[in-house]
Symmetry: none
Subunit: 231 residues, 4 copies
DNA sequence: TCGTAAGCGAGACGGTACGTCGAGTCTTGCT
DNA sequence: AGCAAGACTCGACGTACCGTCTCGCTTACGA
């Protein structure tokens, strides 16, 4: 799941309807009238996250968010065109991978994935992620909003791979995109499609398997590992 | 995505409300009243699949299925408790992995994954899969219905791995479940979470990467492969 | 209410769909197949009456009657075209006015009306009557079925008026139809349109009022009555 | 029918769900949110009356009213709890007895009843009235809503009787409630239970009969009448 | 300092779909 | 054939949200 995740705050305000800019871009028209309340903004996003973890994405209603946030429905629609960009923005506020540098690729990956798992269980990530994925397949426009967020969120993972290349730990011609998919794929499949709990110890095994491959030469290769002996 | 998929017809009739059995279990009471029409059953499932690919899971309405199938809503609710088990059953009718034995693990995997990709693009699989995944996170009951289907669908993949173990192609102590997740994970992530098209040639690369790992010694290792040269 | 009511069994079989006759009229074609069960017929009518008093006409469902009578819905529709003629026939089996001859018009009317009131409270009459009336206004065909029943049911009342004419108790040129409406009207209005309970003693007052009119000379006129002193 | 009827606009707003009042009661809170459209209100009531005369009460559906009025179903349910109070309010808007004072009781009654008959034939009164009556027998709550309306509608009739008492035309101890039932009863019975047309001339006869009673002393009494000679 | 334009909570609006129930019909297998 | 059982299509039920629209405030600018 992780390759599709990481970092905070890529900013998807572009999804909103309203002028937005105003005071920000210098020289813009003076934004007459009462400015939008930042406090209201937070209340809506907080209510959205709370409801997401309680009832899930499908059962999330704009009406529910409004009443939970103590806000009028119109106030929400004034800022987000639908519940989708609202959820995307709320989602973007959730914690992702935590930049970690242990000196080895295996160490970095194990640390980041373990940390991520903790967040995963404590936030609505498990709920939101597949819902957004489900929506994307019939709403290509969502991709444009979502992709930058996802790219941003997986940055620490990519950085670890780049460091490994720089250190000569992995081949320079490695397809890093594919590599990060390989690391993150099995975990995503287990979490989302199989609803399986992932034991922290399992993370280490998965990283090893991804690093050395299914056809790893022999147990000796594994024994040569710098990580905890597994199996 | 693939490890969570394969084969046809695992039979999830258990989701239906009605007695169902009747003539099947020998000695059962003769099922009084007019029997359910098998033709109606097909019409409903077909309409469901058609609508799934057109509008997706979230926008799928039972009302829409009924009118498309030329059937009363009650007839649908008589057989499925909600749109979820209906979709699961329709989904189970979709093609999955095709049992293939080329003599080598890499050959089997490449053939099956390539074949699967074709199905994937031609059927509502791309739509249905993440939708079911999304639902599961807030509906644990779905897992019980869905899991047997998924296990059934991935059987050909598991079989190929088992053959590879028997041939000594991979270590006997390999965790096969994790291995199949590793093969299938990257593809799933690309298809669902990134909305990326996967080029057939990419499948071969992915298989190679999964078999030899990110830290594979060098391109020479790959060159020594018994499979088609890639890159 | 009464003028629209009285007597038993005017027979409205004409409303039914089926051939009906069969074995009854001698010489008729031999009524191939299994003959209709008379027992079933009774069971259906009984269930209808029972449900009428329990839930009322509007909430009466053919489905309910069928299940209460232990009968298939088709069996009911084979005999009655809809719930309306079914209810009419069941209604026709209810008790109406009881033929009474006390020697004076006032005595006859008071006796019959009092008796009728008792039935009224113990049977679904109160429910069925206005429902049928309500239906008639938009279903003229109902009138044809209902009217003979009603005429039959009010016969004892008409007979009492005729005896009064014969005795010279009332003018020979009296419009008897109007007279019976005058007797029965106030009670009907109170029962149906005002939902008022009618005390037995009130019946006597009403009869007196109808007999002597609103402009009756004075209380003395009433005091000269041959009936029980009221007021 | 008449005693259960008369006058316009007794106001049964109490049946509605909503607060209603708002600006009416002085000092009330300013009724937040968009106010209910009076135009919508009229459209709904008009559609209700139109459908009532076309299809009758039983076949009247809220869905039908909504679509005829060009209104959402929810808008109807927001204002009336069910079709019953809706119909009651629509009914209350129908014309009833027209206050008339000719100087004599017979004159007042004949005028008012004749006028009423005209309304009766031109509006859905014939349909609505028995339907409401039918409903009441199984829905006591209806009585509470309906009774004040009916009392209001019959006011002109009661007033005429009171004037007659004041003039000494009828005895002071006359039970006026019973008297109005006597006047109105025969007409109600004929209209509702027998589906009979009532000729205007018949109204006069009925009034005379009610005033002088079935046992009226002799034709001479009738000849002494101030009204048109009848029979 | 004040007018004014926008933001705001509330909630009514026309709709669509929900899952259920009954209508009236049809089908099956038994009697 | 009649019959009990029950599946069939159809259409209405009353509810919940949708996304839009008025209301009558409140709030911060800029003239």
């Amino acid at each position: 799941m992780a390759a599709t995740d990481a970092v905070v705050g890529s900013g998807i305000k572009g999804v909103t309807r309203a002028s937005g800019a105003g005071a920000i871009s210098p020289g813009a028209t003076a934004a007459a009238g009462r400015p939008r309340s930042e406090q209201t903004h937070r209340a809506i996003l907080d209510a959205t996250l709370a409801l997401l973890s309680e009832v899930g994405f499908a059962a999330l209603t704009v009406e529910g968010v409004a009443s939970r946030a103590g806000v009028g429905k119109a106030t929400i629609y004034r800022r987000w065109a639908s519940k989708l960009p609202l959820v995307v923005e709320a989602f973007d506020g959730l914690p992702g991978f935590e930049e970690t540098d242990t000196g080895t690729l295996a160490g970095d990956l194990k640390a980041m994935l373990s940390g991520y798992l903790k967040n995963f269980l404590a936030t609505p990530l498990a709920t939101v992620y597949p819902s957004l994925a489900a929506e994307r397949s019939h709403n290509p426009a969502l991709g444009e909003v979502l992709d930058p967020v996802l790219v941003g969120r997986r940055r620490p993972l990519d950085a670890a791979l780049e460091r490994a290349v720089a250190r000569g730990e992995i081949a320079a011609d490695t397809d890093l995109e594919m590599a990060s998919d390989l690391i993150v794929g099995p975990i995503a499949v287990r979490l989302f499609f199989r609803g399986a709990r992932i034991h922290p110890a399992m993370v280490d095994d998965m990283v090893e398997l991804a690093l050395h491959g299914i056809k790893r030469a022999s147990p000796t290769t594994a024994a040569a590992d710098e990580s905890t002996g597994k199996r």
